[in-house]
């Protein structure tokens, strides 16, 4: 594709969580127990490019590693393997001020509007703390700066002396957005940022995200399980299943006809207001545990097209059209 440098590039990023045995379990093992250390491959060898100004939707079922990937991107978690490359520089190689700047450029908007705000801090401190601590804004200008941020997200600056519990869910989410905007980010990771809001409030916050995109030129990684929202907002959609990316495609292409069998099942089954009571046969089976994912293609136990090869060999992500990749063995047969 174009030689333009992506804003953010993930190269083979993995994140594993290990649950170590505690003393009691070790004791059980001494007398013949079989407790083992459990390793969750929350994110498994994910590579991804995000161009400046793009909105990338990240979808997948619970536990497939969306939030973990979002946290790795935002610098909350360090990847176990692989590289996070921000504007051409490996973030783990940066130190001091350069590292801090890269960290601040990527901000996260969280799911739970209550627990993502410190209940003991006033709105003015929640928003003003980071710019003050990092010296982004002269101390004397902080109050005016906080007012500006509040207005930007559609809140009355008069509310800034209040505490988070005095706001509704939608307003709290706006405060969280203002807090992120206050450090002048280029990239927002939105992790289910509207899932906890009422339907009528979701539209307000989504509209705000779209306004911010046009006004500030922000780039988004938009994590959601609501395909309608993702379709509406994203330029490109990435679908994950049990820690791996199974398909990545331009939004219109994907919703026009997904390639991967899991993507097809997912798109088919999401209830949508414009598709009512069709006769359909939902995909069978439960989502396997990430502690012991199936061999080969993780989807094979539920896949209607699974073959012997799917049980043994991990399918690689292959480009099936320009800018469209999918990880399924069926694509090899089609040639």
């Amino acid at each position: 594709m174009s030689g333009e440098q992506p804003l953010l590039r993930l190269e083979g990023v993995s994140k594993r969580f290990t649950k170590h045995l505690d003393a009691a379990e070790k004791l059980v093992n001494l007398v013949g127990g079989r407790r083992r250390e459990e390793v969750v491959h929350a994110v498994d060898d994910v590579s991804l490019d995000v161009r400046e100004g793009e909105v990338v939707g990240l979808v997948g079922e619970s536990g497939c590693g969306k939030s973990t990937l979002g946290r790795v991107v935002a610098g909350v978690h360090q990847p176990s393997d692989g590289k996070v490359i921000w504007r051409g520089k490996d973030v783990s190689g940066l130190t001091g001020a350069a590292r801090r700047d890269a960290l601040l450029k990527i901000q996260m908007i969280f799911q739970d509007p209550m627990s993502s705000l410190n209940p003991r801090m006033r709105v003015a401190d929640i928003i003003g703390e980071a710019p003050r601590v990092h010296g982004l804004v002269p101390a004397a200008d902080i109050p005016a700066y906080v007012d500006e941020m509040l207005q930007r997200v559609g809140l009355d600056p008069a509310y800034k002396t209040r505490y988070p519990h005095q706001f509704s869910g939608g307003q709290r989410q706006r405060i969280g957005i203002a807090r992120a905007l206050a450090v002048k980010p280029d990239f927002l990771v939105c992790d289910e940022s509207i899932a906890a809001l009422d339907v009528s409030i979701q539209a307000q916050v989504l509209n705000l995200f779209m306004d911010l995109r046009t006004d500030l030129g922000l780039t988004y990684l938009f994590i959601s399980h609501d395909l309608g929202v993702v379709e509406h907002l994203s330029d490109r959609v990435v679908i994950m299943y049990l820690g791996r990316v199974v398909e990545s495609a331009p939004t219109e292409a994907l919703f026009g006809g997904p390639n991967h069998p899991y993507a097809r099942a997912l798109l088919d089954e999401v209830p949508r207001i414009d598709r009512r009571k069709r006769a359909f046969q939902p995909v069978k089976g439960e989502i396997p545990s990430p502690l012991s994912p199936p061999s080969g293609c993780h989807f094979h136990p539920r896949c209607p097209h699974a073959t012997a090869r799917c049980r043994e060999e991990v399918p690689r992500l292959r480009e099936i059209a320009p800018g469209w990749t999918s990880a399924c063995h069926l694509n090899d047969e089609r040639g």
Binding site: F110, P119, G154, D211
Partner: protein
């Protein structure tokens, strides 16, 4: 008031985006107001608070409100020893609660005793909170082996009766106000450590801590400015109840003769001194200090319980 992102043309009829988010945050009770109204919902708690306030005032102003200075040898006369409540001395002062074995006015002795008991309890409480809080926060934030190690020590400590620990320590250290405070701190810090760690673990997982990390704030700032203030409510509750325990423990130790020296007559010591007269029918010398101790501990506990009820389920809402 237009801001860059509110494009009036694009918003639906009925209000701009600004208006959309703003209207009607209903006027809310301030947290303090609500706390007070919830707290005073129980008359028992109010009564206990009142009682505790009186006790604290007495302790603070004992030298000025006591009928006599019970430890001024010039005032105390051995001829007034063991007078029953309501008696009058040779020089005409009335002993409302009687006198003890050395002829001291019992009411004054109790006032002074309260002063000593409360200050030992509160001092040890404050030090134990500081120690326990630091240890608990460190354990929760560090995690891993550090946490396991610290919590094993805490568990071990909590599995031994506090009296036993204090007895052993005092046997080694000897008597004295400083010694008993050290003993009480060592016997109690573990409760605070466990409490703080438990709530810090919960708080650490909350998204606002992740947000703070995202915003590049330092570890110290996250621990002390963000996590700690959210762990204070349970700490206050445990603190009140543990202070009552500390006072009772000090009384026990003094009663057993290993606590405070005779020069620092706390309530426990008064009870101990009066105990020998119980059998001879001079009940008041031990009973009145006992009642004072009981009232103190019960009222602190009631206040603590009410604090727990009011603070726990709410504040997050």
């Amino acid at each position: 008031m237009t801001t860059p992102n509110t494009q009036p043309g694009a918003t639906p009829p009925g209000g701009s985006a600004l208006a959309a988010a703003m209207p009607a945050v209903p006027p809310v009770e301030s947290p303090l107001r609500r706390f007070l109204s919830d707290f005073s919902a129980s008359w028992l708690a109010l009564l206990a608070t009142l009682m505790l306030a009186v006790i604290i005032l007495i302790a603070l102003f004992a030298p000025w409100i006591s009928p006599q200075d019970p430890y001024d040898l010039a005032v105390v006369s051995i001829f007034d020893a063991r007078l029953p409540p309501g008696s009058t001395s040779m020089d005409g002062t009335t002993f409302w609660l009687g006198t003890d074995g050395a002829g001291r006015d019992l009411l004054s002795a109790i006032f002074y005793g309260l002063r000593i008991s409360l200050s030992v309890g509160v001092m040890s409480g404050i030090i134990a909170i500081i120690v326990g809080m630091s240890v608990g926060l460190a354990a929760a934030y560090a995690g891993g082996r550090t946490e396991t190690l610290i919590m094993r020590v805490v568990d071990l400590q909590l599995s031994l009766p506090a009296v036993l620990i204090a007895l052993i320590l005092l046997a080694i250290l000897g008597k004295g106000v400083d010694k008993i405070i050290i003993a009480l701190v060592i016997a109690q810090w573990a409760y605070y450590a466990r409490t703080v760690r438990a709530s810090a673990l919960v708080e650490r997982r909350r998204e606002y801590v992740e947000a703070a990390a995202c915003l590049g704030l330092g570890h110290a700032r996250i621990v002390f400015r963000h996590i700690l203030p959210n762990c204070v409510a349970p700490l206050i509750v445990v603190g009140t109840v543990q202070t009552a325990h500390a006072i009772a423990l000090e009384a026990t130790l003094s009663f057993l003769g290993v606590g405070l020296p005779l020069t620092e007559p706390s309530l426990g010591l008064l009870i101990s001194n009066g105990f020998e007269y119980m059998l001879s029918g001079k009940y008041w010398i031990a009973v009145f200090p006992g009642v004072a101790l009981l009232l103190t501990i019960v009222s602190i506990n009631i206040v603590g319980d009410q604090l727990r009820d009011v603070l726990n389920p709410r504040l997050q809402k």
